[in-house]
Amino acid sequence: MNTSAIILMVLAILVVWGGLVVSALALRARPERDGADLPPGGEDDHREDTAPLERDT
């Protein structure tokens, strides 16, 4: 491979795959906002946990 092709291949891999690694690590370090940090309210309805099976026609 010529030098410029090698440089650009490495650059593409570093930037795009690097972007994936950095964004994944950032998400792992802080997966969600802390509860106290969020506006009040916004609790989900958890009836789905106990909901009966859906009836079908």
């Binding site: 010529n2 092709a5 291949m9 998400l27 506006p39 989900d44 789905e48």
Partner: protein
């Protein structure tokens, strides 16, 4: 919350069911990546990059990703998550007349699903054919002749059994998955197929890198042509590649985000999804061009002289030719077509979920009812149009119009209606920042309200002009009017008709959380949006 109280019309089975949800952040991310990574990553990106400056294409590609792809992805997430509904519900909650934009997106998804399934069926057929290299010495003649039995453009009722059987099979599987619901169906299928796809594709790429001539292929792909950066068409190519690759602006990400819990992180997972999609494209570029380098070496020509380096021809003509030549061909051929089918399948699920969710909410259907009713209609149309001898041409034409006119128009309309007509930019930016760990600044509004509609609007107008003036692929005018412009007409008429139908249960008694502007109480925030 107000959303869980029954609205006008009453619920079909008494109490309203709670909204379906992903089981968690990982489930959502995997499903969203499965949706974004599709056939376009494998057969479109490598050819586009090669033809638009090679290594230099990286620059406009990254600029497009950061200035349009990710911002529009966030816009879809914000609309779906804040207004908690499929595309028609969510857009109606932005402003009632916008419901038709939601149905326009549902119609686009319907049309795409109908032909996307055919391609997955072809991939499954070729998976089987790989074992005995059934295409012999003439893959081009085999694909269009023996396999598709291609006739002239027209409407044919001659069914091709070798396409019909896998096509019906794909529809059965996909409808079973959809009927199982978001968590137990769509998410579970993605959790199985996405890791399998990545593993199979990695094996293929590593194998490709050890083929003779692989280096020549990579040279051809990555050698930069810096002069290309001065060509506006190269930049447009980059924006359209990013745009079509990320599954944005036709309801998928609106629908998927609506199944997240309210207190869910949006932007940081979005970055993971966007970079995963691009990472897979780079991987596909390396694999495809290493393989093309091998083929060029075998034929004694330069990589630049090869034909059929993108689209269905790359997958179903060029690749079979390579498989016939390489050691261990049947195994790697089977692996390639299986990868193609899996990449397509996880995207197809997301496309059909848009349609299914729209109907579930408007007509109070369960996921199972929606899968059965909507799915059977899709399946019948799909089998009627694409299992016949004119299937390839109909597919090519519908694809051209649904994508380049339908999706691009949908994106421009979304930006203009939501951000300019209803001026919801600040509210959506506040929503993203209230729940997410990666904050977006005012720049986000500038990108989605100004840059995106300008670039996409230009793409739309120039494509309309080209299709009107030059036609497409030399197909006859009456055929393009019927299957090309007719597709657009179908999208619009379908959207208007579906908007006009009555909701079984009004979606309007809804209060968005968190309240905007912040500090006001929820009850007073959205008076205008609550039912009379």
């Amino acid at each position: 919350m107000a959303e869980t109280t029954s609205g006008a019309g009453g619920a079909a089975h008494g109490a309203q069911r709670p909204r379906e949800q992903w089981t968690g952040q990982v489930g959502f991310i995997v499903a969203a990546i499965g949706s974004a990574v599709g056939l376009g990553n494998i057969w479109r990106f490598p050819g586009v990059a090669y033809e638009n400056g090679g290594g230099a294409f990286l620059v406009p590609y990254l600029v497009a990703l950061l200035t349009a792809g990710i911002p529009i992805l966030f816009l879809d997430y914000a609309i779906g998550h804040r207004f908690r509904g499929s595309a028609p519900t969510a857009f109606r909650r932005v402003a009632r007349p916008f419901e038709s934009l939601g149905w326009f997106q549902v119609m686009i998804s319907f049309v795409i699903a109908v032909y996307y399934t055919a391609v997955i069926a072809w991939a499954l057929s070729f998976f089987v054919y790989s074992f005995d290299l059934r295409w012999g010495d003439d893959p081009a003649g085999f694909f269009t002749g023996d396999y598709l039995q291609l006739a002239d453009p027209g409407v044919s009722l001659d069914v091709v059994p070798s396409v019909l059987v896998p096509l019906v099979g794909v529809w059965v599987v996909v409808l079973v998955v959809l009927a199982a619901g978001v968590a137990r169906g769509v998410q579970r299928a993605n959790m199985v197929f996405l890791p399998l796809l990545v593993a199979a594709f990695l094996v293929l790429v590593v194998r490709a890198l050890f083929l003779d001539g692989a280096v020549d292929g990579l040279n051809a792909l990555f050698t930069p042509d810096w002069a290309a950066l001065g060509d506006p068409n190269v930049w447009i190519a980059a924006y359209s590649q990013i745009f079509f690759s990320l599954s944005i602006a036709f309801g998928i990400m609106v629908t998927y985000a609506s199944y997240r819990k309210r207190r869910a992180n949006l932007t940081s997972p979005g970055l993971v999804v966007a970079f995963s999609n691009s990472s897979f494209e780079i991987l596909a570029g390396i694999g495809v061009f290493a393989t093309l380098g091998f083929l060029a070496g075998r034929q004694g020509v330069g990589v630049g002289e090869l034909e059929g380096i993108s689209g269905p021809i790359l997958s179903f003509v060029t690749f079979p030719a390579i498989v016939s030549e390489m050691p261990g061909g049947p195994f790697f051929g089977a692996l390639f077509f299986l990868s193609l089918a899996m990449a397509g399948f996880t995207s197809l699920l997301s496309i059909l979920q848009v349609v299914s969710a729209g109907f579930q909410e408007k007509f109070s259907w369960t996921p199972r009812q929606a899968a059965l009713r909507v799915g059977v209609v899709c399946a019948v149309v799909s089998v009627a149009l694409f299992s016949t001898t004119t299937g390839l041409i109909a597919l090519d034409t519908a694809d051209q119009w649904a994508n380049n006119i339908g999706i691009v128009a949908s994106a421009v309309l979304t930006c203009v209606l939501v951000l300019w007509v209803r001026r919801r930019g600040s509210e959506l930016q506040y929503h993203l920042n209230a729940v997410s760990t990666f904050r977006v600044g005012a720049w986000w509004q500038v990108l989605v309200a100004l840059l995106a509609p300008l670039v996409l609007g230009y793409m739309l107008v120039s494509r309309v002009v080209t299709l009107l003036v030059d036609g497409y692929e030399g197909y006859p005018g009456w055929y393009l009017a019927l299957f090309g412009w007719g597709t657009v007409a179908l999208l619009v008429v379908g959207a208007l008709v579906l908007t006009a139908l009555r909701w079984r249960r009004s979606p309007d008694a809804f209060v968005a959380w968190p309240p905007f502007p912040p500090g006001r109480t929820a009850a007073t925030t959205h008076d205008a949006e609550v039912t009379r």
